[in-house]
């Protein structure tokens, strides 16, 4: 095509250079990549997927099936972008592409943003219908969002010559745009595509924020922005898409949709020299008028209908155009590059062909309402014979479909329909009363659309008659599928790959359905088309992730003592979202040395750790004890104020859910702890039962996990370290026995001190206000310096508790473990009910061959058998072997100076004394099953 010296919606003062397959070309501001290529006489923009045939630009918009390019450079390289939607910018780098995109491993600095918005009325589509709707609703005072994929509002009015209220439509668009801009509650979003329709009128938009700007001007700006709109009412003014026709060699560069030819003329000032227009409906006649007026030779006007009696054909005849009704294109001729040179024309009724030379063939197979968003909500469609397309059935609740999207193609219908929809949507929300202008246009009487979609190949070879232009699927391909026995369009799709391209077969769907219907002699209305699913337009992964990258991806939760851990050189582990100190290596130490040192400090001296991540719940109310008795497997109600008890909880199915310490502060007030990972779930579990099962109980819960920072001070010297820091608190074992809890002052800080121990050693667990945690830590470290106080991490804790045979829920237990399996049958109260108790009575829970917790001692005391290893009786058995259990915790114990661990094995403690094997790829170390308490079995050390 050639660029005309003037005209179009181009800024001729801004010439832009861009690169295409390494060649430097130029266009104007206002061009798309597609129009710029056409303006540079690049007619072949890629090769087809399967057959490698040359392909050109066939549309000016969403219908595009050929012109996909890879654009951008470095980390911003984006594969498979539709050239008809890419606005040209200075320095654009683009490459042709037919099959696969190539990704860049470089870092992408593009900023993809997300924004939430709320609207009374969301208008999708900024053509005449959408503008009229947004204006009507906006003038009533409703909060309106209107989005359109183009760089400016106008839609079809930008490509067609219409009059509104007797004036050029562009004037109305401009005036309406100004009015919309003046309404404070209206948000106009150009360059914005609505790509997903969610439940309850959630509409998701993709806005191209800076992609049209030269790279240098994008600094600080988002590349794209994801809008999550919640709308009370949705108006779908999404227009209609023009459909190609199927005939031999219908895929050449130079064959274009009829409306696209007008768009290239009016928006981009591009014209061919000789055009053939091949119509099946009245709208295509606009192409005849407009291109003729632009000086293009109208080589032929073919109309597949037997007669063309609508307003536009009549006008065309009056203007002297020769219209050949009942005439069709039966083939095309290309030059050595495959680019269109001439078309073969014949009468449908039969007779000879003639050749008509031309450099553009404009085709219109009719129009399909763009109903993707409607279909995403599973809105129904119905076949309409008169328009030969699918129209929407009933709209989904709180939505309206208007204008061309509803099969009302006339401009006046669009303006009236849009305005009425806008008023109705506003009125439904209580906005009414303002007088809203009622624009009008004179619609031509429209003739029926032809049902013709396919011109049979004169030579019977249907392998060049393309239905899906992107996927290279032909009539022959569909025929072959039907011959194989497939009937359903979804099977045809899968057999042929129709509709699976980047454009999701948008322009191919209806013709594919008709091919199937024709092939098996069914009514097309019953065959249907495959449904629309999100996204309506492809969107980059990065847009959906938006800002949830890097530091914003997930919270990093730390305790108030975290800076101290960092200063001590701690190695951290992730515990859910928390960072916990795993161990504190000193110079030259690896993990094992550090852990040994930390363990020995606990056993022989004094040590401290940060236990602030434990979940904490304040339980108050007269029924608190009754409530906790129903939750925990063991008895809580008998606990005396000032005392604490280890507690265990089951799920309803009897599986161990969580454990922790329950402290009774006052007769009607408890303080319970949970594991770090279950802080939220336990709180929810408690609230759920209070609210839904036992609303009669007077109990109130407050999550205080981050009200309290907790530091256990542990080891035989702990009492000595703590003593100088407390005021009026007798720390002796008589006055402050094991499992007692007292409120008081530690290091000048209001504190709660509990004598609970997860290591078997003397321990004072000190809790202070969260923001005072670091002060407490420093004070304890300071006070303990004379005793070589040692910070220890979760790894040492794991060794210490394993030495005592204490389980960690989720490590030594899994989703099948009952309290008895975990060796905690003593915690099951027989004289009360609790959540999960009934499940424990089921036959499978009572079997004696269930897995139970045991200790293991490897034969070789220097070998730590890895956690997760499975145990068998016969290491030489062929696979699949008879698995008896697995090792859940496994370490070297500095206290008993050998490797040891815990395991879950069938039969549990009945196997004590047995020798089992842990087969791995490189051997099968033997272990002996023992009682799971390895250290201080009598509990003699807990009082120091």
């Amino acid at each position: 095509m050639k660029r005309r010296p003037s005209g179009g919606l181009l800024d001729r003062d801004r010439a832009l250079r861009f690169s295409w397959d390494g060649r430097t070309l130029s266009g104007f501001a206002g061009d798309t990549l597609a129009s710029a290529l056409l303006g540079n006489n690049v007619s072949t923009v890629g090769r087809s997927v399967a057959q490698g045939r040359p392909r050109g630009v066939m549309s000016a918009g969403l219908e595009e099936a050929h012109a996909f390019a890879q654009i951008g450079e470095g980390g911003a390289t984006e594969p498979l972008v539709r050239s008809t939607g890419v606005e040209l910018y200075e320095g654009l780098v683009a490459r042709s592409l037919s099959i696969r995109g190539v990704l860049s491993p470089e870092t992408d600095s593009g900023r993809f943003e997300k924004r939430y918005a709320h609207a009374d009325v969301m208008v999708v589509g900024g053509g005449p219908t959408g503008i009229a709707a947004a204006l009507a609703a906006g003038l009533q005072g409703a909060r309106v969002v209107i989005a359109d994929e183009g760089p400016e509002l106008g839609g079809a009015l930008l490509r067609d010559r219409y009059l509104i209220d007797g004036r050029p439509a562009a004037e109305w668009v401009r005036a309406a745009g100004l009015m919309l801009a003046g309404l404070p509650e209206v948000r106009v979003l150009p360059r914005t595509t609505a790509f997903a329709a969610l439940d309850q009128n959630g509409i998701v938009l993709a806005e191209r924020v800076s992609q049209h700007l030269p790279i240098a001007d994008r600094s600080g700006l988002a590349d794209r922005r994801l809008w999550r709109v919640r709308a009370k009412q949705v108006i779908l003014a999404t227009g209609a898409l023009e459909r190609p026709l199927v005939f031999p060699d219908n895929d050449r560069p130079g064959i274009m949709l009829a409306s696209a030819a007008r768009a290239y003329l009016h928006r981009f000032a591009l014209t061919p020299e000789r055009i053939v227009v091949f119509a099946t409906n009245d709208d295509a006649y606009r192409t005849v008028f407009d291109l003729h007026d632009a000086g293009v030779v109208i080589a032929a006007v073919l109309d597949a209908r037997d007669e063309a009696t609508g307003g536009l054909p009549r006008k065309a005849r009056q203007a002297g155009f020769e219209i050949e009704t009942g005439a069709v294109v039966t083939g095309t001729i290309g030059d050595q590059d495959g680019v269109l040179q001439a078309v073969r024309v014949a009468r449908l009724a039969g007779g000879g062909e003639r050749l008509v030379p031309c450099d553009l063939l404009a085709v219109s197979g009719g129009w399909d309402p763009n109903l993707n968003l409607h279909q995403q909500r599973r809105g129904a469609t119905r076949w309409d014979d008169r328009l030969a397309t699918f129209l929407p059935g009933a709209a989904v609740p709180m939505q309206t479909i208007v204008g061309a999207a509803n099969g009302r193609y006339g401009l006046n219908d669009c303006l009236v329909g849009g305005r009425e929809a806008g008023l109705a949507a506003a009125a439904a929300l209580g906005f009414a009363g303002t007088v809203v202008p009622a624009p009008s246009a004179g619609d031509e009487a429209e003739g029926e659309h032809a049902s013709v979609w396919h011109i049979t190949a004169p030579d019977g070879d249907e392998s060049r008659s393309f239905i899906d232009l992107h996927r290279d699927v032909t009539v022959a391909g569909v025929t072959r599928a039907l011959g194989a026995g497939v009937r359903h369009v979804e099977h045809v799709k899968r057999y042929t790959l129709i509709g699976t391209g980047v454009e999701q077969g948008r322009s191919a769907k209806v013709n594919a359905g008709r091919a199937v219907a024709g092939g098996i002699g069914l009514d097309f209305a019953q065959v249907g088309v495959s449904s629309g699913r999100p996204p309506a337009e492809p969107v980059p992964f990065a847009l959906l992730a938006a800002r949830s990258r890097g530091a914003l991806f997930e919270p990093v939760r730390t305790t108030p003592i975290h800076p101290a851990h960092v200063a001590l050189g701690a190695v951290f582990e992730d515990a859910g979202q928390w960072k916990r100190a795993r161990y504190y290596p000193r110079p030259g130490e690896g993990m094992s040395e550090a852990v040994v040192r930390e363990c020995l400090a606990v056993r022989n001296g004094v040590a401290l750790m940060d236990a602030s991540t434990l979940g904490k719940i304040d339980v108050q109310g007269p029924d608190s004890a009754k409530f906790l008795d129903r939750l925990y497997t063991n008895r809580i109600g008998t606990l005396k104020p000032g005392r604490a008890r280890y507690g265990l909880m089951c799920r309803l199915d009897g599986v161990v859910f969580d454990d922790g310490v329950v402290m009774r502060l006052e007769p009607n007030r408890f303080f319970v702890t949970t594991t770090t990972g279950n802080a939220g779930p336990v709180m929810e579990w408690m609230e759920q039962h209070l609210q839904t099962e036992w609303p009669d109980l007077r109990v109130w819960l407050t999550s205080v996990t981050e009200q309290w920072a907790t530091v256990p001070l542990v080891g035989p010297r702990a009492r000595e370290v703590l003593a100088p820091l407390v005021v009026g608190m007798d720390l002796s074992k008589e006055a402050f026995p094991f499992m007692a809890v007292k409120d008081g002052v530690v290091a000048g800080l209001p504190a709660r001190v509990a004598r609970v121990s997860f290591s078997g050693e003397l321990a004072f667990e000190v809790s202070v206000a969260w923001d005072q945690g670091l002060a407490l830590w420093d004070a304890l470290l300071d006070a303990g310096s004379a005793y070589a106080i040692t910070p220890y991490g979760t790894e040492a804790l794991d060794v210490l508790r394993t030495e005592k045979g204490y389980i960690i829920v989720g490590q030594d237990t899994d989703a099948t473990t009952t309290p008895a399996d975990a060796g905690l049958e003593w915690m099951i109260a027989q004289d009360k009910d609790f959540l999960g108790k009934r499940s424990l009575e089921r036959p499978a829970m009572q079997r004696t061959d269930r897995k139970g917790l045991v200790g293991i001692l490897p034969d070789d005391p220097g070998v730590v058998v890895p956690e997760g290893c499975h145990l068998v009786a016969d290491p030489n058995e062929a696979t699949p072997m008879t698995i008896l259990g697995h090792i859940t915790s496994s370490f070297v114990s500095p206290s008993i100076r050998r490797s040891f661990g815990l395991a879950m094995v069938t039969g549990g403690r009945a196997r004590v004394g047995q020798r089992l094997y842990a087969p791995m790829m490189n051997g099968a170390p033997a272990v002996t099953i023992v009682d799971p308490v390895f250290y201080d079995p009598k509990g003699a050390r807990r009082d120091g």
Partner: protein, 90 residues
């Protein structure tokens, strides 16, 4: 992506809530037989159509409540308190 009306806080995005399964399941006495207990633990209506279910506004007021949601369309027709029955809720 549901928009759910919390009976207290009003309409909020689904991400603020947690699903709690079918509503109005009575906990049986603990002396029922294994079959009845299994039904309570594991069997839930799974209708294609209106379904009374529990949600909790976990990131809001933390209250449990019920809604009636059509599992075919995701349309939500009622939102009501646990103390109410699906019939008497407006």
């Amino acid at each position: 992506m549901l928009l759910i009306r919390c009976p207290w806080c009003g309409e909020r995005e689904e991400t603020e809530f947690r699903y709690g399964g079918q509503a109005h399941i009575a906990t049986p006495r603990s002396d029922v037989d294994d079959a009845s207990w299994a039904r309570f633990l594991f069997h839930r209506d799974n209708p294609a159509g209106p379904f009374a279910e529990r949600w909790v506004h976990i990131h809001g007021c933390r209250r449990w409540f019920h809604i009636v949601r059509d599992t075919l369309t995701h349309d939500i027709t009622r939102s009501y308190l646990p103390s109410e029955s699906p019939e008497d809720a407006g």
